[in-house]
Symmetry: C2
Subunit: 343 residues, 2 copies
Amino acid sequence: MNLKELSALLGLSQTTVSRALNGYPEVSEATRRRVMQVADEHNYRPNTRAKALATGRAMAIGHVIPLSTQHEMMNPIFGDFIAGAGESYSQAGYDMVLSLVADEDQSRAYHEMFAKRNVDGIVLHAPKMQDSRITMLQEIGLPFAVHGRATDITTPYSWLDVNNTSAFRRATDFLLDLGHRHICLVNGQESMDFAFRRREGYAAALQARDIAPDPALMFAGEMTEVYGYDTVRRTQSLETPPTAYLVSSIIAAFGVRRAIEELGLVMGRDVSVITHDDDLSYLRNGAEVPVFTSTRSSVRVAGRRLAKLLISQIEEPCASPLTELLEAELTVGRSTGPAPHRT
Amino acid sequence: MNLKELSALLGLSQTTVSRALNGYPEVSEATRRRVMQVADEHNYRPNTRAKALATGRAMAIGHVIPLSTQHEMMNPIFGDFIAGAGESYSQAGYDMVLSLVADEDQSRAYHEMFAKRNVDGIVLHAPKMQDSRITMLQEIGLPFAVHGRATDITTPYSWLDVNNTSAFRRATDFLLDLGHRHICLVNGQESMDFAFRRREGYAAALQARDIAPDPALMFAGEMTEVYGYDTVRRTQSLETPPTAYLVSSIIAAFGVRRAIEELGLVMGRDVSVITHDDDLSYLRNGAEVPVFTSTRSSVRVAGRRLAKLLISQIEEPCASPLTELLEAELTVGRSTGPAPHRT
DNA sequence: CAACACATTTAAAGCGCTTTGGAGGCAAAA
DNA sequence: TTTTGCCTCCAAAGCGCTTTAAATGTGTTG
């Protein structure tokens, strides 16, 4: 069923039917109702491609996901982010198109998305500190919004980020207040902007109490279970092992816990752990009482909001860039306790 | 840059330019080269929307992801599947469009995808045993392929599946060979087709050795870490606790391991564990030596192959449905060993 | 040299929609 | 009665591409 057939059926012109369906005022309420009803009966939906061609709006938003080295796609937080964004999109009538590309093809992918004009905007994932993609998109002139920020980019752009610095500063303070003095940072890869900011927060808290950050206690790597496990095994054999771990991801935190338990230590008594918790739907941090004390910020909510932000950006093209900074909340679980006295 | 401008630039008609770019034979090699070059210089890409409208092919494939109850999207395997599918899509020049919808809107979503004509085909995720979506899509007449199967649907359709039955039968046999007689099945939700098939395999292996499957040792649920943990805690306090666990997901297996270690038992000595391993890129089963003995089958490869299968289905519409059954491989790790003698 | 086949190229229609610029009808105002 | 304005509705152009049918040139043959 297309518009032509539908309007023939109704004995009206295509113009009128189109207007009736799109809520234009030049149609009497009576005919509008009639049109609506018949359209509904025949389950009519305008052909997206034709509509997009006519309006110049694709009603779709692109996500370019680098496949290979960065492992972004496989990043377990991605699913939840997409789920959140998808909610906003379907609410606003947008489709989501994913383009999975090898790292080296990324630049081409963005240009192509623009030239092919099958999206109205793009979400940028996992920004690095100086991310060339941002300036590229600015030059191209395709609306975009970044999940995170790129510290070294000074020109304004739209973004949504968690306040990583304050979250990790607060978590570190919490541990310091509990008497911990040897706090190990189990961070993500430092080329990532969020990891940099977390380290800043961690270092700032220490320095505020005149503690020099110890490089031997600061780790950066891909946030896997094994990474968390290995880091604990390695650090617990130091001369003065850390009494607390500040972890960047709940997956790594699982590894941290495993190593702690394997060493015969009790988490929350012998060793304290705080993790950042993206509130992933399939990796819940305990049921009623959270297992881990954590800085929590739902990545799903982030997806939802960033999508909205981008949509309003698209629909109001002249407006200046929009930004949103989410504060993580510190949730106390059973993984933290006062620093044990050294024997 | 659009076709009109490009052909004006070249001093050729749109027809010729279009043909040159699309590899039609009615164009001299000389002009083709010239066209190609100028198009390249100006970074020309045909407008997808216009092309789709003219050809009737959207060059896009849809994935409808139910959001709420089923938690399919958040399912951690989803990311890897999508990554695999994405590889095949971009290779073949297709886009991937995701539609995240609430469970109750699913039927509407499929009809809409068809009516809006913005995809050429659909991938169906997480089929249940009698899945109404399959018959619905057959009626609609939109090409589709299923990741998994629906036991109760008898009409032919395209699918790709892991041989869940044989995988779990083989794993159970392996445990039986090691002398285990009380094997606990930690399965996924039994409305899911794959879970049903796995139980079938498990039961068949037991029955082949005249062991009656014990309902007290068969669990079904959402495959979270906590679910695995709880199941072990619960079963280890039985009168005759199981000496082995057969687990449906590596995430649940992490919980199984945690509970085992917490009980002071040693995995592979006191209790054996086999898990199904989807070979997720961010949850590797150990480095050199796998931690878990597992039935392994890469869900990413599955995505890649299913996408190809669907594409050939789309491009050869009259052909009969295609199917592919992947065999999981049994990888022996350190989580299994001979059944301990009862004290 | 005319006639033909063949290789290139083109004009124009059409894909299904939106939207501009009118047209027709009718009631109120002149 | 004519004019004006408003309310409905419509014909047709146009979005950027493909594709059919036809036109143009070029070389070959009788």
